[in-house]
């Protein structure tokens, strides 16, 4: 078992489904921050058998919106002075911007350089979102 020292300040993203940790690392652009970031993969877990976990020692605010899309079951713990002071669980975001791409081959966004496309949640269970341009439904995992 590898030991990683206790976080003094920052964010712990826990209960990440095993294998999703690196995806979250990429989507949160953690490669771009200068603070300490630790990504742990395949940690034994009683509840999940195996899980991933990310620790970020930082003061900066991170947009967690995308996490709800990738893995809505994660837990986010906020740490200050070595103590956890806030814990949140996630829901699917109602609106997503700049993260997803439309899967409809006839959508204009597939043919013109369109940035920051908005998607609106239409079905939480199926993780379906509606494209603001063509209204076609796209599922988050499907569009990858």
């Amino acid at each position: 078992m590898i030991n990683v020292s206790k976080l003094k300040k920052g964010i712990i993203i826990d209960h990440i489904e095993a294998g999703h940790g690196f995806e979250i690392y990429k989507e949160l652009h953690l490669n771009d921050i200068d603070d300490v970031v630790v990504l742990l993969k395949n940690i034994p877990s009683k509840k999940m058998k195996q899980k991933d976990l990310i620790k970020i020692e930082t003061d900066i605010q991170i947009d967690m919106n995308v996490l709800g899309l990738i893995d809505p079951n994660v837990t986010i713990n906020f740490v200050k002075d070595g103590e956890m002071y806030k814990k949140i669980t996630l829901n699917l975001p109602k609106v997503v911007e700049g993260i997803m791409k439309c899967k409809n081959p006839r959508c204009i966004t597939q043919h013109e350089d369109v940035k920051e496309i908005k998607f609106f949640l239409v079905n939480e269970e199926k993780k379906q979102y509606r494209c603001e341009y063509c209204d076609a439904y796209t599922t988050f995992m499907e569009e990858e």
């Binding site: 439309c102 409809n104 006839r106 959508c107 204009i108 966004t109 597939q110 043919h111 013109e112 350089d113 369109v114 239409v122 509606r130 494209c131 603001e132 341009y133 063509c134 209204d135 076609a136 439904y137």
Partner: protein, 308 residues
């Protein structure tokens, strides 16, 4: 207030606003001369990125009959698109010259995208792929208002290609905002109404069937549509489905005496020509309504609806 607004899909306007456009269309029909100069000095940019006769002519006729003028193209190969110019740049340039623009494009969502670049020039969506065709919807509503006395309380049969039929999607979503509308969707299984449209309807307000004969007697309005060759990847699939429904005199005998038959045109085989003389067939009158409603829309968006 509709002045300066875009029309990308019918949902952009409230029902009261749509009704006000239809009221203006009624006034224009009654007194066309009174409106023949309201757009004098105004320019309409007609940007047709795919072939269209009917829609383009009706927009251009509408602008000319209001006293305005037209610039534009009907073949993108004759525009800067052929040089690789982005849609955003094209629109920003055209806005320097025009007061209002009409755009038809084969890609879905194009009009919405373009409207984000136009700061002051109203954009009218004249069809974006299989997605929306709001001015056809306004045309259809004016036809229903004129020949059925209003848009509330009807059983509406929609028949043909419900999957790719953009006119149908726009019409269904808009009629659904009126009171007492029941839909009967009639299509082959391969061309059923898409899930994203059905999800917007109350499940008690529609039924789906493949059999036109069984339901024609229940309808107040029968909206026929063409199976569109250009939406199919497989020619074989198109040939198999194109003549799935043919409305003929025999079928019309089962229909109510005051049912109306509508069609966005062009027609191929789905309505036999023998039906044309039936007083219930209003599809050519519908085309005329298309020009008047576009006149009313242009006048409203330019804020020039007062008779001069």
């Amino acid at each position: 207030m509709l002045k300066g607004r875009h029309l990308i899909e019918p949902g952009d306007f409230q029902i009261e606003e749509i009704e006000s456009i239809m009221e203006l269309a009624d006034n224009i029909i009654t007194n066309p001369k009174g409106y023949s100069l309201v757009c004098k000095g105004k320019l309409l940019a007609s940007l047709f990125y795919e072939p269209s006769t009917r829609t383009r002519f009706s927009f251009e006729a509408a602008m000319l009959r209001l006293g305005g003028e037209i610039i534009g193209f009907d073949d993108p190969n004759n525009s800067s698109v052929s040089k690789g110019e982005s849609l955003g740049d094209t629109i920003r340039t055209i806005e320097c010259y025009s007061d209002i623009a009409v755009i038809r494009h084969p890609r879905e969502g194009t009009a919405r995208l373009v409207s984000k670049f136009a700061k002051e020039m109203p954009i009218i969506n004249a069809g974006d792929g299989g997605h929306e065709h709001p001015t056809q919807t306004l045309t259809d509503l004016l036809t229903i208002r004129k020949y059925k006395g209003g848009c509330d309380n009807h059983v509406v049969g929609v028949c043909g290609d419900l999957l790719f039929g953009r006119t149908i999607h726009s019409l269904v979503k808009t009629l659904n905002r009126y009171h007492g509308i029941t839909f009967i969707f009639i299509s082959p299984k391969e061309l059923k109404m898409p899930e994203n449209i059905l999800n917007q309807l109350n499940p008690e307000c529609y039924q789906e069937t493949t059999n036109l004969d069984e339901v024609i007697g229940d309808l107040d309005i029968l909206y026929m549509s063409r199976v569109q060759r250009e939406r199919f990847v497989s020619e074989e699939e198109y040939l198999r489905l194109k003549d799935y429904y043919i409305l003929d005199k025999k079928k019309m005998k089962k229909a109510k005496k005051d049912m109306i038959v509508m069609h966005p045109l062009p027609r191929v085989n789905e309505i036999a020509t023998e039906v044309d003389d039936d007083p219930r067939a209003v599809y050519f009158k519908q085309a005329k309504c298309g020009m008047y409603i576009r006149m009313a829309l242009i006048a409203k968006l330019l804020g020039v609806e007062e008779i001069q």
